[in-house]
Symmetry: C2
Subunit: 231 residues, 2 copies
DNA sequence: GCATATTTGTCCGTATGTATA
DNA sequence: CTATACATACGGACAAATATG
């Protein structure tokens, strides 16, 4: 038995070393992915014992990983009770869209003279259409997120990019508690395409208007469904 | 000797319990304050042993605190070498101002109809003037930071507030390595006052223009001095 | 409301790996 | 290249809080 555990241990160490990260960060990445996939839905309690056993890391290391994810707002930490996958309130959802309006709008407004570097946006729209055709609705959502991350990237600010990555990861938490993912993702692929075309034509101001309408509609639809879901 | 340590321990526990936070967060808060005060200037290495001994917390707990502050970009974590108070590059400074232009500008642009809730801004300007009179230059800097935090707060988004708190904490790291704090703080008290008056008059768009010029000048002056300082 | 079991919070000792004088 | 110092990670211990019956 010690043999098999040793093998697992080595594998873990290697995959951590590969990218020169600590085991704690490796653990955080694994958990972050699980949460993003929806494998640990919001509200799930993550037991130190269970997770630590499953991933073969010590409690101390696991707690470091928990801290990281708590700081990213994916987990909440209740003193002496443990950590849970975050359940967003409707107010959180509203704040997320407030931030999106602020940042994504500012990113478009910060653009100088066309033409713009739109490769990432084009790729995201394309991936969105492909996912729609193949009815992979969850992937449609991922492509949409990727598109809006691309919009923010136009501002060329690493810190803003990171903020947005966090915000959109939070948004994913909402998606995972909703059924009918198609309804929340499919309509927006076309609208992203419209934003892209407007930008390609060099009309950043016009794109900003389309974006604003997009965010309003998306928020309305999401808040409506989410409030119903939470009861 | 166990006696005295016990007393310290109890004090620490109580002051943590008071706010219902863990010892790790209490530790992080203490360190954050020390860094903000400039007591640990950029580049300082924080030894697990030394700090842990001084604050009477175990290495495990201290490491949790380090993680938190690393995530806030106040510390950098070099694998197997420890944590250091961050030294900002000129590119960081430029990104910080990029973010400020984006966010503070967007906050002003998001304003609806006047009048606006300007209490926090008025208080910050007043505190700035008082600190100037008494030649407390560092406090002048604090008041200025507080003013711009107030601008962002006008957008009414907790997440944006938090982002800005982090950004401005980073900016403080730069201030602490510069001499002549007066030169970097005093000129801007008046300009904050001008922004405030423009807002009070209901002219958000005009305030945005003043702000943009403010940020350009401030960045230019700071980058210049900082680049010279770094050699 | 009480007693018990479970889980977290914290600390410590130690083995190993890594960086640097 | 060796030695030293230090970070990394683990596992065990016990106290304290919480959950369960």
């Amino acid at each position: 038995m010690g043999d098999q555990e040793d093998v697992l241990h080595k594998l873990k160490e290697d995959s951590a070393r590969q990218e020169r990260t600590s085991v704690a960060e490796w653990t955080a990445r694994v958990l972050r992915d699980r949460i993003a996939e929806g494998l640990f839905p919001p509200g799930t309690r993550l037991s130190e014992d269970t997770i630590g056993g499953a991933l073969n890391v010590s409690r101390n290391t696991l707690r470091e990983a928990f801290r990281l994810l708590t700081h990213e707002r994916l987990l909440v930490h209740e003193l002496n009770r443990g950590v849970f996958v975050r359940i967003l309130e409707v107010e959180d959802l509203e704040d997320i869209y407030r931030v999106r309006r602020l940042i994504e709008g500012a990113a478009l407004r910060s653009l100088g003279q066309p033409p713009y570097a739109l490769d990432a946006l084009e790729q995201a729209v394309e991936e969105g259409h492909k996912a729609v055709e193949e009815k992979r609705w969850r992937d449609v959502g991922t492509a949409n997120i990727s598109f809006h991350q691309g919009i923010v990237a136009l501002a060329g600010s690493p810190r803003t990019d990171e903020l947005m990555r966090g915000i959109l990861a939070e948004l994913r938490l909402v998606f995972h508690v909703m059924d009918d993912p198609r309804a929340f993702h499919e309509p927006y692929v076309g609208r992203n395409g419209q934003i892209l075309r407007t930008l390609r034509a060099g009309d950043a101001r016009g794109a900003e208007r389309v974006l604003a309408a997009y965010l309003d509609d998306s928020q309305r639809q999401l808040v409506e469904g989410y409030a119903r879901k939470l009861g």
